[in-house]
């Protein structure tokens, strides 16, 4: 299970996570086959193309260990393990990407920024804890779920309830982004938006709208930064 943390260690453009997956399974395979010639087939099998979300690999690895045990006992066909892997990797990849990368990560960032308004030193810890609770739960619980259920892991994974949680977290993200911008233009240091009161807030909203439009058109944030610098520097030459 610990080896699953290295799943993308030697990610490559040809077979992606194949080496990481094989590495995670090697101890189990050596345990089952020892130094016997028979180990070559299974190892080769797990060097085939594989790619999913790195955290979601944990339940797949668990299930694959279980299935390999059945293969060693002659209760299952080796090819079935790969059919299972190929069958789940696509949808697990999509769920993992949209839950962890597009939903939980931005949300944890936002909360960390909020917490910095109260205590700056705490914000990195709040971010790490908030994010990694789900991360470690999936890695650990997912692995054992896979190992206990074997191919039944497909049903078992429903307990994580990703689609439902995603909806809620995304709604919260949108609302707290609005709150954050409002707080940001309202805090009153000598500098920044806060010093201009209502006008500062209006400027921020207009700028937000402009940036939003530009990004929708496919302008990259990097270009927006340099363009903004050109404008602010130009403006500062006069005002």
């Amino acid at each position: 299970m610990l080896r699953s943390f290295l799943i993308q260690g030697t990610w490559n453009f040809e077979r992606m996570q194949n080496l990481g997956f094989c590495y995670a399974l090697l101890p189990a395979l050596t345990h089952l086959y020892g130094k016997d010639e028979k180990i070559r087939g299974p190892v080769k099998r797990h060097l085939e193309f594989f790619n999913t979300h790195p955290y979601m690999a944990a339940p797949v690895i668990g299930a694959a260990v279980k299935m390999e045990e059945d293969v060693a006992r002659g209760k299952m066909n080796g090819e079935d393990v790969n059919t299972f892997k190929v069958g789940v990797m696509g949808s697990y990849g999509a769920i993992g990407d949209s839950f962890f990368w597009s939903t939980l990560k931005p949300f944890a960032s936002l909360i960390a920024v909020f917490s910095s308004l109260m205590d700056q030193v705490l914000s990195p810890f709040i971010f790490l804890i908030l994010y990694n609770i789900s991360h470690f739960r999936l890695r650990i619980e997912g692995f054992y779920l896979g190992y206990n259920e074997g191919i039944g892991v497909i049903d078992g994974m429903k307990r994580f309830n990703f689609p439902n949680m995603m909806k809620k977290i995304k709604a919260l993200t949108v609302i707290s982004s609005g709150v954050l911008l409002a707080v940001y233009v309202s805090i009153k240091p000598e500098t920044g938006f806060g010093q201009y009161g209502l006008i500062g807030a209006l400027v921020a909203v207009v700028l937000f709208g402009l940036y939003y439009r530009a990004l929708k058109w496919g302008v990259t944030p990097q270009i927006l930064i340099y363009a903004s610098l050109a404008v602010t520097a130009g403006l500062s030459a006069f005002v």
């Binding site: 943390f5 290295l6 799943i7 260690g9 030697t10 990610w11 490559n12 040809e14 194949n18 080496l19 094989c22 590495y23 090697l26 050596t30 070559r40 190892v43 790195p54 955290y55 990407d97 990368w101 597009s102 939903t103 990560k105 931005p106 944890a108 960032s109 920024v113 700056q120 914000s123 990195p124 971010f127 990694n132 991360h135 995304k170 709604a171 949108v174 609302i175 982004s177 609005g178 709150v179 954050l180 911008l181 409002a182 500098t191 920044g192 938006f193 700028l207 937000f208 940036y211 939003y212 990004l215 929708k216 944030p221 990097q222 927006l224 930064i225 903004s228 602010t232 520097a233 030459a237």
Partner: protein, 235 residues
């Protein structure tokens, strides 16, 4: 002279640790210590100025909040920026002084191209890793499982050394050039940098609203904005 040798020692230390932090970004663990909000304070702590590190981390975090890796596409590397920006700003204020928002903003506009360069490096390593996949195939044929295991981890070494080296080179170059370039800036440009600094969170939030695909997201965004802003105005 003593200050200079201290900076060199710090560069070496940051490069060694920065390689590990960069591995967390895509290659292993991914417990997110490579996110700006964690990386920059860590660098700040090593250089004896946590507060500047935290400030840099929050701004870079917000700037990258909407940049999502989807499938095989990888966004520009925020980790190297989170390492470079606080380092350059802290050294600058230690030796010569300077307004922290201005130095942070200047360091940021200088290091953004590095984020793109690091992304290229990332895909180069992933191409090189193909050789490891082939080598592992050969080891299976020969029956050497130790060899297979070694090849499986070879990419980690590649990632670590490549990133450490890139961080080292950029820190050396940055430490040498930054004070000089900064001293060339006219006052109006410094003012512009400071104003840019205040705009960065707005850019970040806009990109987040573009990338979170939620129905009516803008409506809810402005609703909560107006509500909270009015509350602030009243009280």
């Amino acid at each position: 002279m003593r200050e200079r040798s201290l900076i060199v020692a710090e560069i070496v230390l940051i490069s060694l640790i920065g390689g590990f932090i960069s591995i967390d970004r895509t290659a292993a663990f991914q417990i997110m210590i490579s996110r700006p909000v964690v990386t920059s304070p860590l660098i700040g702590m090593m250089l004896g100025d946590v507060m500047t590190g935290i400030q840099a981390g929050l701004i870079i975090e917000l700037l990258w909040i909407g940049a999502l890796p989807v499938g095989a596409s990888v966004p520009p590397d925020e980790t190297i920026v989170s390492i470079l920006v606080p380092s350059l700003a802290i050294w600058q204020s230690r030796i010569i002084g300077g307004e922290s928002f201005q130095t942070l903003a200047f360091a940021l506009v200088l290091t953004i191209p590095l984020a793109m360069l690091a992304r290229r490096l990332d895909s180069r390593i992933r191409e090189k890793n193909i050789a490891s996949a082939h080598a592992a195939d050969r080891f299976v044929q020969e029956g050497s499982m130790e060899g297979v295991g070694r090849e499986c981890l070879s990419g980690l070494k590649r990632f670590y050394f490549a990133y450490s080296l890139l961080i080292f080179i950029s820190l050396i170059t940055g430490a040498a050039l930054f004070p000089f370039l900064y001293s060339l800036l006219p006052p109006f440009f410094l003012k512009g940098l400071e104003r840019l600094f205040y705009l960065l969170p707005v850019i970040g939030l806009a990109s987040l609203m573009v990338s979170t695909r939620v129905k009516n997201s803008l409506k809810f965004f402005f609703l909560s904005f107006t509500l909270v802003f009015s509350l602030f105005e009243v009280f």
